[in-house]
Amino acid sequence: MSGIHFKDVIKRFDHHIVVDHLNLKINQGDILGLLGPNGAGKSTCIHMLCGLLPIDYGDITINDISVKQHVLEAKKLIGVVPQHIALYDHLSAEENVTFFAKLYGLKGNQLKENVANALQFVRLYDLRHEKITRFSEGQKRRLNIACAVAHNPAYLIMDEPTVCIDPQSRNHILESVKELNKQGTTVIYISHYIEEIKVLCNQIAILDHGQLIANGTKKELLSQLDLHEKVYIQVSSLMNSAAKEELENHMQVSNVLWENQQLEITLQSAQLILQDILFLLSKYEISVQSLHIEKVDLETLFLNLTSGTSHQ
């Protein structure tokens, strides 16, 4: 069975449970976005997957290879882009990529070809002979990625790869991830930027207190929750009881608040009934001065599930 499988994984630090009975399956070809507040256990999961930390209970399998029993075999299948830039200052860009690729066992022509491809992939081929001390933060981040992909891993784990970089470099990294995924690489992407996860990932897992609290596509996650959108309308008149009652009776509307000239309507989907609301208001000769829709998005979902908490 291909893919990465977390099977009832538990990790404790002293007596504190950091990862609590985690069951998660990442299918081959997916881009999984791993979300969670600080201290939720995201990095611990990744570090167990990479063999940095022992697994206390349960197991993680990569293409059915147990990380617990055959960690070196399992590690050969993955490439890791660490959260921090982990490169050697005394080496050039090309030497850095070559060093890591050699440690993955690449040799000869294949090594040269893969190193060149990795550098071209992150658009640093022209700077391959430059010492990395002359590189910008964004260029270093891209080189950090090149070092992780040079051996063409089946699974790529990216731990907040876009921290502290400019929007251009971020866009380039996101494009690179999409491109890698098109070529068949399965990606686990950890980020605090929900926008990135939204754009990039077809599967989202949310961790909190070491537990998996949500897992699925964005659509699936939003439908699982009874979340509502809100429409704020600045109207010309004070409260009109008849209009309010009619609004409240609408099937899609959950609640109506009318204070002074401010109307707040809580509903399932503003897109579906916005026309109905405007028609109803015009029927009572209430003119609309301004309108604002508060949509339910991934961020609302995330904050709702995790109660906006940070555990560190």
Partner: protein
């Protein structure tokens, strides 16, 4: 083996591409030996009395800034187990202090290895290496082998410049010199490894090495020859003492079996440190 070779090569590149480090490795020993050679005439004055008293029992020595003090007899009437003050006088001060400098430099190279490991942990490259398909012991071995090679190059440099530029005679028994240097390098690297297990701060490691090595060099007679009996007694149980005295025996053309008196404790220390490292590294939390 391939992984160890790659990591060792990276260590060598790291040192030789950094001119301050290369300067310390090559220029510092040269400067030390140069200063010793400049002050050697003063030292000879100190030794002259002892030399006169003991010259009939000394083995030949062919070098030194003051050839008139060298003995011409080939008889070796010294005890094989120890070299006392009188015996040392058969060596030129330049020989004596160059041997001490060599041992001190080898031991100090352990500091380089320790700093390299700590820096790599700090820069997160160590964590990245641990994510690759190889064991942590392989990474550590690679780093230590790399630093041991640097240490070996530095030792060869010291022996070469002291022989060619300052006419220091290292004796006829090259095997004593080789074994002593290799064992001291092993011990130095293993001390470095243990220190990184115990401490995470570069400042603490610096303080530890400076204190440890300077005190050890001093009490083993590597700085001042005439020490009190108590200090000499304590000094006789140090790595510096065994390595230093073994080198001096080599310079005095002792047979290797006679030099074993000092080489065996070096072997024992290296073995003991290796075994402790094997047990200890599994308990180190590299994740911290």
């Amino acid at each position: 083996m391939r992984h160890i070779a790659l990591i060792s090569k990276n260590e060598l590149l790291q040192v030789f591409r950094s001119w301050p480090l290369a300067l310390i490795i090559f220029a510092l020993p040269f400067m030390l030996i140069f200063i010793i050679s400049m002050t050697s005439s003063v030292n000879i004055m100190i030794y002259e009395e002892g030399y006169v008293e003991t010259k009939s029992t000394m083995q030949s020595t062919h070098s030194g800034a003051e050839p008139t003090i060298a003995s011409t007899t080939n008889e070796n009437t010294l005890s094989i187990n120890e070299i006392n003050v009188e015996q040392v006088t058969a060596l030129s001060p330049l020989q004596y202090y160059t041997a001490s400098t060599l041992v001190t430099c080898i031991l100090f190279q352990g500091l380089g290895a320790a700093i390299s490991i700590i820096d790599e942990r700090k820069d997160k490259t160590f964590t990245r290496l641990r994510m690759l398909p190889m064991k942590t012991s392989t990474i550590l071995t690679g780093k230590l082998v790399g630093n041991a090679l640097i240490c070996l190059i530095q030792s060869l440099w010291i022996i070469m410049i002291s022989t060619l530029l300052f006419q220091v005679d290292w004796g006829q028994h090259i095997e004593i010199l080789t074994i002593t240097c290799l064992l001291t390098i092993c011990i130095s690297m293993l001390i470095a490894l243990h220190v990184t297990f115990l401490f995470q701060s570069v400042k603490v490691i610096y303080s530890f090495f400076y204190t440890f090595i300077i005190v050890m060099t001093f009490i083993s007679g590597g700085m001042i020859k005439d020490l009190s009996n108590q200090l000499e007694f304590i000094g006789s149980y140090t790595v510096h003492h065994w390595a230093f005295k073994s080198l001096l025996q080599g310079m005095l053309d002792y047979h290797i079996l006679e030099a074993m008196y000092h080489i065996i404790p070096l072997m024992g220390t290296a073995m003991m440190l290796y075994i402790i490292a094997l047990i200890g590294y599994r308990k180190v939390d590299f994740y911290k």
